[in-house]
Every structure is written in structure tokens, then in C-alpha cells.
């Protein structure tokens, strides 16, 4: 029951019902939609290179929408094929012929596949964040919002993320765990999305296995990428410290 409540709450967070007080907040996509996180990590950094059929989106009012994504059911037990397959469906899917599956790097050298389908995906249940997925399920609307933002502006940015990284002397990080943090302002509007662990400084040394680069890729609400450098908000001079017994 507790898991069901958490899942429901996670889903509702997408629409702002949980923690609904008027204050800015962050949602770590990894926790509420790990399956969608992987998709966002694969698509957003190269949104400007996606095929047209994937970049289709619609805008109604101020909101941009993208087709539906679903995580395909696991391959049969005993199958040697271990891959993550997503299904994608949009209105165009029903009018165009079948297309070659799209293969994208998910960030740690592993590839995912996205396959167009004419099957309606909107009726599928939302993926449960805490269960090993056995059956086909739909990624969250929060993930779709993230993808829609990236795709909407992909053609407007010159050079895309690659050019920005090159200009800042950053390289792709294929070592650190990846995180997607979605920030909302106090009016509950999506403010920016931070991608943590996807880049690092060319000469940046990360000593421990859990270490993550101080450089974070930020996708702003206007579709523009920027680089954030995290710094300690306050240093401590060891000489000025007093221990309790001193």
C-alpha cells in the first residue's frame, strides 16, 4: 500500500498536487520515473540531431507536447538479448510507414532503442518507479514535458549542446551516475532541467567512485542550454574551528 501511495504521489507531483504550496521545488526524475530518466538522458543532449519523425510536437497555448513513449515489456526470460526498448507513438505514426528503430547512447556506453509503433500508448499504465518492469508501461508526463522542451527548441540552437561543451572545455562523462533534476518556480511552472554527471571538465579529477563533476548541463525553459558550475556555498578554515571539547 505504501508503495502504491508513493507511486500515486509521484504521479501527482507531475501535476503539482503533492507539496502544492506556492514555493519553488525540485523533482529528481530518477526517483519518480527512472525509466523516463534514461530516455531523457539519451534524447535531450542530442535533440537537435533526432530524426524528424521523433521531433514532431504540437503546441497548444503555452504547452508543447510530444508523442507518447512507453518502455517495452522485458524480453523473454532466458533471452540473451538485454536491451532497453522504448516505443514511440504520435499522430504521424499512424500515417507514415514503419521506420528503422532509433539507437541512442544512454550515457554509460549502453544504447537504448526507440521504435515507432502505431499502437496507442496513452492508455498504458504509467511505469512504476520502484518495480522491475515486467509489462509495457508509459513514461510519465513529467518526462514528456522534459522531452518536449528539448525537442521544441532543438532546431533553434546553433550547434546544440556539443558546441557549448567544446566552448567550455568540457567532455562527456561516461563514469558518473546520471541525474535529471526538474525545477519548478513558485507558480509551478517548469523553470529548468539540470543534467548531472553527463559532462566533466577536461582536466577535472574525480577521485572517488561516487564523485560527480561540478559542471552541470542546464536546459532552461526557453530551450537554451547553459553550464552551471557548482561551488561550495561556504568554506571552512580548519584553524578557525572549535571542537566541542575545546
Amino acid at each position: 500500500m505504501q508503495r502504491l501511495l508513493s507511486a500515486l504521489c509521484a504521479g501527482l507531483l507531475t501535476f503539482g498536487y503533492c507539496g502544492a504550496a506556492a514555493q519553488s521545488r525540485e523533482i529528481i526524475l530518477n526517483h519518480v520515473d527512472p525509466q523516463g530518466t534514461l530516455l531523457a538522458l539519451a534524447i535531450v543532449p542530442q535533440a537537435n540531431q533526432l530524426a524528424v519523425w521523433m521531433r514532431e510536437e504540437t503546441t497548444s497555448g503555452t504547452k508543447t507536447e510530444i508523442g507518447q513513449f512507453a518502455l517495452a515489456a522485458k524480453s523473454a526470460p532466458g533471452s540473451a538479448e538485454h536491451r532497453t526498448l522504448y516505443l514511440f507513438s504520435s499522430r504521424r505514426s499512424t500515417t507514415d510507414g514503419p521506420r528503422e528503430p532509433l539507437k541512442l547512447d544512454s550515457g554509460l556506453g549502453q544504447r537504448i532503442e526507440i521504435q515507432q509503433t502505431t499502437d496507442p500508448l496513452s492508455k498504458l499504465p504509467i511505469c512504476e518507479p520502484h518495480l522491475d518492469q515486467q509489462s509495457t508501461c508509459r513514461v510519465s508526463d513529467l518526462t514528456r514535458d522534459v522531452l518536449a522542451l528539448a525537442v521544441r527548441h532543438a532546431s533553434n540552437t546553433s550547434g546544440g549542446l556539443g558546441a557549448l561543451l567544446a566552448s567550455r572545455g568540457l567532455v562527456t562523462d561516461n563514469q558518473a551516475a546520471k541525474r535529471v533534476i526538474v525545477s519548478f518556480n513558485d507558480e509551478n511552472a517548469l523553470q529548468h532541467i539540470d543534467f548531472v554527471g553527463i559532462v566533466r571538465g577536461k582536466d577535472e579529477k574525480l577521485v572517488a567512485p561516487d564523485a560527480v563533476s561540478v559542471f552541470v548541463v542546464r536546459l532552461n525553459s526557453n530551450g537554451v542550454f547553459s553550464i552551471i558550475e557548482r561551488r561550495q556555498d561556504s568554506g571552512v578554515d580548519a584553524g578557525s574551528i572549535k571542537f566541542e571539547g575545546e
Binding site: 507539496g19 502544492a20 572517488a208 580548519a238 578557525s240
Partner: protein, 391 residues
């Protein structure tokens, strides 16, 4: 149809109302919605007073059986910030000498090795300090650069949860640890990080360091500047070594005071203790939790063989958002060992098999060791709570 709509409305209403209440009094944290075997048994929880600071709210997150988390809820806005260290000091829930364990809830339902480690990836020691009138929690840890008021970005900016485990320390021992911490923090350049967790310092062929206790003495010598060599350690052997100096006064250090925090043969942990009788080894955190959680023998075996010592996520691409390449690599290298341990539990934990497996295990201290021993109610270690940033 009408009934369904009403039900949906009722659920939404319930959650909207619940959310409003949660602003003042957060309940279970979705971040900590993990498998119960990752939770400490209630009987191992340290007694605590109420939080002395309104910014730290304490709740309980119940798992199955007698397992659960005591959750110390901090504001989301203080994550990775010095304010988190200030809030925790004000709450008086974290004390000098407490062990802080980096807990990765996203390791749940991934790989057997990650389950075995109870989602714990790193360890540090906390000291309550002050600068001027400002009190805060300061960590001392390896890598030494991580030592901070919980705000070193590479470590703390993305850390979702921190377990607090309390060793049994008297005031004199806390004061002694403070003196050692002062020496260490004043001589940071003498301390380095060692990346191979499978090779403890006493096995590296360093001159004069051939036993675990030598390692503790060596820490003292480096801190005191009695050698030009550096103390290079991974996180848990640093914490373990520092705690081993709790009975030692730096002003009169002669080595006789060294006492490992774990009361095992050599002060470190082996792999498996058959039936976990009177001891607990490196791989026995989940087992100790399930015993403490009062699961029946049958239930325990089913969980250990069906949920713990199994790889759940076989799509490696799905691991990108859950753990680093370094941790995935270690997990893959230990895949066969995990299968053997699974077989050990499935076979009813035969002593002969445990002893045979232990022959290939080097005595060591993982970051999880402190929670393993707490789960097993050993060495006076107690679980205080788990810090999350969700308010």
C-alpha cells in the same frame, strides 16, 4: 463509470489534503521507498530526544516486519549547503563521533552486489564544531577534500540520503577523536584517497603495516607528523582507523591504546559467519537486518535468495541513472560471488561452505560494515536515523 469518477476524485482529494498536512509534518519519504532488507531493525535504533530544531522533523518510515527508517527530514533547499550542517547541529540529533553513511536508495532492485551493500556507498565521521557563534556538523573523511559542513559539491550536492550510525563513545573518547581530527584537518596534505576497496592498507606491502592494528598506528603517526609518508585510504578504512584511536591521546601516543571499533579477531570483518552466530561478516548486512526484523527462517531465505543476492536489472542501460561506472564494474566483478552466496543461503547456510568461502576473503572494512554491525547489534553501534532533504 460514475463510481469510478467518484473514487478517482476521492483519491485525488485524499492526496491533496495529505499534501497540505505534509508541509508541516512530513510522513514517509518516497525517496526511502526501498526494499525492507535495506532498513535497520527497530531494536537497533538509538534512543533520541526530540529534534531541538524546527527545521529538522523526525518521522518513521515503516517497512515489512520490524524494519524501518527513522527519517530526519531537512528542507530540500539545504541539500549540499552548509545550512544542512547547521540544522543538524541545532537539532542535536547528530553528535560528535557519529558515522555518516551515504545511502543510495536508487541502488535498490538493481544488482546483487549493490543490495548486499545495503545501498551504502561511502562513510565519514561527524564532529559538532563551531566557528564564532555558529555551530554546525563538520565531516572528516577520505577523500579529505570531502571534509566539509556537508557541502562539498562532488559528494553532497546529489546525495539523497545519509544514514547516521552512532558508536558507543564516552565523553573522553569524543574529546580524543576531536584532537585527532584537529591534527588531520590541520595537515590535509598528508592524506590521500586509495581507490581499490578490495585491497586494505595492511595488505599493500607498506613497510611496518602488516596487520589491521598497524594501520591505526600508522594513521596516528601520519597525523602526528612522525613520518613523511602519506596516509592513503579508502573512505571506510579511514573512518575505521580514526575510531580505532578513540582511546588515544595524541600528546602521549604510544600505540598501546589502539583498539579497533569492531570486536572481531583482527578488528576487521570476514565474509560469512555461519548462521551469523556471535558475529557478522561483510556480506551479512541484509541477513542481519532480516533477523532483527523478525522474519521467519523461511521468509529470510526466500528474500535473500529471491531479492537480495540476485541481479534485478539486467538491462545495463537502465543503470545509468542509478550508479556510477565504478560501482557497476565492482558489481559485475562480484557477480559470480553473489551467485555463490545465493547458493549458500539456499543450501541452509552450511558452515563448511562458509568457511571455504572465507578462505578467499581478505579481512576488510566496507562503508556498509558499520551498518552491518549495527544491524547485528554488535560493538555498541546503533542506528540514529536517515537524513533526507524533502521538506
Amino acid at each position: 463509470m460514475r463510481m469510478t469518477s467518484l473514487l478517482q476524485f476521492a483519491i485525488l482529494f485524499h492526496f491533496a489534503a495529505a499534501a497540505a498536512t505534509a508541509q508541516e509534518r512530513p510522513g514517509s519519504s518516497p525517496v526511502l521507498d526501498v526494499s525492507s532488507f535495506m532498513m535497520p531493525p527497530r531494536q537497533t535504533w538509538a534512543p533520541i530526544d526530540r529534534s531541538a530544531d524546527a527545521n529538522v522533523v523526525v518521522t518513521e518510515n515503516a517497512g515489512d516486519g520490524d524494519l524501518g527508517f527513522r527519517v530526519l527530514h531537512l528542507r530540500g533547499s539545504v541539500k549540499g549547503k552548509k545550512q544542512a550542517a547547521i540544522d543538524l547541529a541545532r537539532s542535536e540529533l547528530v553528535q560528535t563521533g557519529d558515522i555518516l553513511l551515504s545511502f543510495r536508495p536508487l541502488w535498490d532492485k538493481t544488482l546483487a552486489y549493490a543490495h548486499m551493500q545495503l545501498g551504502v556507498s561511502h562513510s565519514a565521521i561527524a564532529f559538532v564544531v563551531s566557528v564564532g557563534n555558529e555551530r554546525f556538523v563538520m565531516t572528516v573523511e577520505s577523500p579529505i577534500s570531502y571534509s566539509s559542513p556537508l557541502n562539498f559539491p562532488e559528494q553532497y550536492a546529489d546525495l539523497d540520503a545519509i544514514h547516521v550510525v552512532r558508536p558507543a563513545l564516552d565523553q573522553a573518547q569524543k574529546r580524543a577523536l576531536e584532537k585527532w581530527a584537529r591534527l588531520i584537518m590541520s595537515n590535509r596534505g598528508r592524506f590521500g584517497f586509495f581507490t581499490d576497496y578490495s585491497l586494505p592498507m595492511y595488505k599493500r606491502g607498506l613497510p611496518g603495516i602488516s596487520t589491521p592494528k598497524d594501520q591505526i598506528r600508522y594513521l596516528a603517526q601520519v597525523a602526528l607528523g612522525q613520518t613523511d609518508l602519506r596516509f592513503e585510504s579508502f573512505c571506510s578504512e579511514f573512518v575505521w582507523s580514526l575510531l580505532g584511536l578513540r582511546n588515544c591521546d595524541p600528546a602521549a601516543f604510544d600505540g598501546a591504546c589502539v583498539r579497533p571499533i569492531f570486536a572481531t579477531g583482527d578488528g576487521m570483518l570476514t565474509g560469512l559467519i555461519p548462521k551469523i552466530a556471535g558475529d557478522a561478516g561483510l556480506v551479512q548486512g541484509p541477513e542481519a537486518a532480516l533477523i532483527g526484523g523478525k522474519f521467519s527462517n523461511g521468509e529470510r531465505t526466500a528474500i535473500l535468495t529471491g531479492s537480495v543476492f540476485v541481479d534485478v536489472l539486467t538491462d545495463e542501460s537502465q543503470l545509468a541513472g542509478r550508479m556510477s561506472v565504478g560501482h557497476i564494474k565492482v558489481a559485475k566483478e562480484n557477480r559470480q560471488n553473489m551467485k555463490i552466496i545465493n547458493g549458500y543461503y539456499a543450501a541452509g547456510e552450511p558452515e563448511a561452505l562458509a568457511l571455504e568461502m572465507n578462505n578467499g576473503v581478505t579481512g576488510n572494512v566496507s562503508p556498509t560494515s558499520f551498518l552491518i554491525r549495527s544491524n547485528a547489534r554488535m560493538d555498541g553501534l546503533q542506528y540514529v536515523g536517515t537524513v533526507v532533504f524533502d521538506r
